[in-house]
Symmetry: D2
Subunit: 352 residues, 4 copies
């Protein structure tokens, strides 16, 4: 007999913290899929929800099971679902698009006007089971290990940012080495970038940047990072800027280090308006700036799956603790210091 209740990590009250509760297993509609979660990964956004910052207060409506990075095994499918079957190993795009707005119609579903996010606007994956629309399911080759499969959401951010323009034979600067910045380093190298520069103030993250393959890792708090990058590129600057920090100073440095004619992918989220020297950094430079949000549905998923299956990405250094849902407080504390890799929950038993 199938389970009717399950454990779920939930924000139940509009305040800091979270609570592990027993709730009903979600029921699914005709076009939906129920997935038994194998591994779920904690995103920076989950930290914001846990900490109940200003953004969370305006967006999250408790009670909510949060979490939006995961992999698992299909438990059952709705009656109209034919493309996926129980027992299959899957992850999912957690951004749910409407299918009929302008953006959905022109192949830009990732910036749908009516986007809803599972784990933010409806119950997510920090639970034994999660309910997903069938079209959002992404089947995973069993050759890809569980811990990799659990972080396709942020890896997709990185792949989307890197491949939003040419990268083969190009010099790249990654500003900000949080998890997505670190993944972007590996992706850029795998896709043929020549030199990858990285800037980061946090010592532990700079160490990680080297492990992920960055050629030159700089602390912008010590010495003139822009001057160094210009020097190493014969005075020209880098071809590609991958802005992952959201920090005003890093953004300004990144643009100054970008060559005329270069491309900037902006992914980091500044908390305030940003002052830009548009004339010198964008206009006279003939630069191209790409805003990066989510992952292209599903071009990015194809690209990253293909890179992973072919063994082109070594993400092992990224991973930190693997723990149970019960230990959520420790997990969030660990991450808040900024000195941990991706922390994974295993709601249905130990890592394989």
């Amino acid at each position: 007999m199938p389970a009717t209740t399950m454990k779920a990590l939930r924000k139940v009250r509009p305040e800091r913290g979270a609570q592990l509760e027993t709730v009903p297993v979600p029921s699914i509609g005709p076009n939906e899929v129920l997935v038994r979660v194998r591994a779920a990964s904690i995103c920076g956004t989950d930290l914001h929800i846990y900490g109940w910052d200003r953004w969370s207060q305006s967006r999250i409506k408790p009670p909510l099971t949060f979490g939006h990075e995961f992999c698992g095994v299909v438990e059952r499918v709705g009656e109209e679902v034919s493309a996926v079957a129980p027992g299959e190993f899957v992850s999912a795009e957690m951004h749910v698009n409407c299918g009929h707005c302008h953006q959905c119609r022109v192949g830009e579903a990732h910036i749908c006007q009516n986007l809803r996010i599972i784990g933010i606007d409806q119950d997510g994956c920090f639970a034994e089971f999660v309910r997903i629309p069938a079209t959002n399911i992404w089947k995973i080759d069993p050759a890809i290990p569980e811990h990799y499969a659990a972080i396709l959401d942020p890896l997709g951010n990185a792949v989307h940012a890197v491949l939003a323009g040419p990268v083969a034979g190009q010099t790249v600067l990654v500003t900000g080495c949080g998890p997505i910045g670190l993944m972007a380093i590996a992706v850029a190298k795998a896709c043929g970038s020549s030199s990858v520069f990285a800037t980061e103030v946090n010592d532990w993250r700079r160490e990680m940047a080297k492990k992920m393959g960055a050629d030159v890792v700089l602390n912008p708090a010590e010495g003139d990072a822009v001057a160094r990058i210009k020097k190493d590129t014969a005075g020209t600057g880098v071809d590609v800027l991958l802005e992952m920090s959201g920090n005003q100073g890093a953004i300004a440095q990144g643009f100054r280090a970008l060559r005329a004619g270069g491309r900037a992918s902006l992914l980091g989220i500044p908390s305030n308006p940003v002052s830009l020297d548009l004339v010198n950094d964008v206009i006279f430079k003939g630069a191209t700036v790409r805003g990066i949000y989510g992952r292209r549905m599903f071009e990015t998923w194809v690209q990253m799956t293909s890179l992973l299956k072919a063994g082109r990405l070594n993400l092992d250094p990224l991973f930190g603790e693997r723990t149970s849902l019960e230990k959520f407080d420790e997990a969030f504390s660990l991450l808040q210091g900024g000195h941990a890799g991706k922390v994974l929950f295993y709601p249905n038993g130990k890592p394989r």
Copy 2:
């Protein structure tokens, strides 16, 4: 016997104003061309030089013959020049690239690291003759009238801005209706844009915007231009923003009116750093921003010549006074009010 001296409009002292002088006809090197100027057009930059603003003070080294928009007839060519001959009707790209920097090598000569501008960094075309490197000469089909041929430089700016991304079947917003903004309206319509919106505070320019083909012309000082544009685009916003004003408020409005997934070409030159809501205007929107400088050498020239020859651009409403070099003070005064079209000098005799 060839002329040895000529009239030239020159900045001779580091102060406001200009002076009409008699100077030697330029001598040319083996790879250069001497052009007898037929018509020369006044650019906003020339107004800055005439008025001796802060930018001029830092960039211009008097004495200098200024002017950088013109057409004329080849008078003589250097000994190594084979691609153009005396008697041919020509204009010229006045941005002179070095040919060996990174940008020149990758087909981005318009953003050469060592760019020099004729009429700014060396003697220009407000004179009877002007000296031009042979590779910068652009031959003009005699079917194109002189007054059109004199404004290919700013028309090229407009074409570059419009064609820096898709425009056919797209909605377009032009913010700022100076000469380049006005030309951009005509170019966008000729290249298949569906609706063209234009915003401009100056009454005369709004009137001109209608004449150039804008479908909806708005005064952002009266009423909510962004709300109107959103309403007219079913809540989606425009596909393309052509920012021609350099004005902080207009830039902010332009980005708010841009749809998620849209493209912004930035050409207007802000005089200060600009504060941008990067998160909502670029990142979450998945927008593409293109800095536009000069004209692509020479893709843009091919495109605009082709459009002109085919009679696809009616620029007639744009033209104002046609006068002689002697009347330069009246010409500059006229333009400073912002209520005049393109004013042309004819240094070698009357318009044909």
Copy 3:
């Protein structure tokens, strides 16, 4: 009380001809829409089905209601349908994609591996009602007249072919002036092409090509069309080839007339393998060849709707007879001569 039976033009036996029958009105599933057909247009493919050629014999499984170009008014919608409502004026993409193959996942649904075509693989629109999946419905601005709305399918082919590469300021050659070739002429002009050349052996169609806006219309059976095109393009050749004939000779001529670095969109369907001088026509030329099938779902639909709403396309010369389903034999005869424009059926009453 809703109608339970309807008239439908059907292929009932594996032989030449068709039959007007009374059949049940289709019942719809939860994600489907029933449309009352206003105007339906006859495609060349319908002629093949009527004539029962070799292709039809291998693909069509009688009994089948054929027809796949139409517009109409939504009669009713399935219970899961929210994006469209009864009474709305619509057309539809008749290529039904699977949603989960590689191509569907990477934004290329128009070349889905499991594509089914309404009117070919299942009952089509030569009837009072037609059943359509909700996601394939395309809402139409009531400003667009019925006869235009009925031919969005072939117009989409033309728009897809023209916009598969740059066209603004480009010279274009259309080889073959059947309905799609003729539409392509109008689309290319509306999107900024400078000169449009057209080649066609049929006198009536050459006359039509002029009406649609072609600048130079040539009969390849009389005189050297390639030489003429080369001469008119200063020896360079055209930037863009739109191959609409499927004819070996026209394809060869088209490639010879294409400039080095040019782009060819191939849409016409050759009935046999084609012999190409790959070295001189493609490789040494650095040409780009794009295979064009169907319409991009739904970028092309957005583009063409936008052009139509803005009044950028005058397709009036294209239209021929407007008739009733009962007169199908006359309609097909008329078309088989190749001397008629688009012929429309009005299954539910006269044209408005």
Copy 4:
């Protein structure tokens, strides 16, 4: 005192063979550079010239020093040359463009209408010295070894073919594993392709393909290569075809193995017109076909230099004999069997 004569390998008579002669050192014009050749590599084209095949008979005008792949040290420069100086380590683009045809003006100098090739249309690099226009000189980082620097011409062909469309996260098929095909395998892997398939009938070359990094190497003469590729790509086919053979059968197989929506780069030169199933292989497939000729000037050079400097390409397995000009007969014999890697001449002394 500078040398006035030099050794040169020349085609002196219109017949099979070549002759090592003593000839004057070339004199240079004001915009030219004289380079002392360090290493020169034999291209398949040189074999054709040596063997005096039909193509050679129509193109080559003896007497001619042939050879067009090399590196060397600048000996002296013309008076107008400022971008390169004696003593610098260089290679050169041997395709000399006119600078003023349509293609040169739109950034497609590699397909210039008036292209001349050094080593084919004028004296080449199988000599102690070679004369090169200054703008064709490509400076090489001394970190790049001489034998790599000598083969930038064919490596550029490979890079141009691979990067003529997306390759990161894509499956690739290389048909034909001559030197350029082999290099293309390494380039594709370095630029993020997931699986690289290669087909080749020659045993030695199949062995080489594995060494260069191909994931699956197939002999099309044994078993159904297309079926195998389809099977390994879940029935979809490859994203990218790199056609390097010029062989009718291989071209047909390549297109059948290409997925709908895929991209084919055609570089191999068929000796006769090719019969293509345009309908199924290009049109219905919505495929993109790119003709590849030479190297983009100089985007491709930047890309390959960048990849080489960063150590992203291991080309060591490719190299065969390194010999003196005197041993040209042995060198050509060796290559004619198709069982040798790149053979290099060292006209000015031994390899370092």
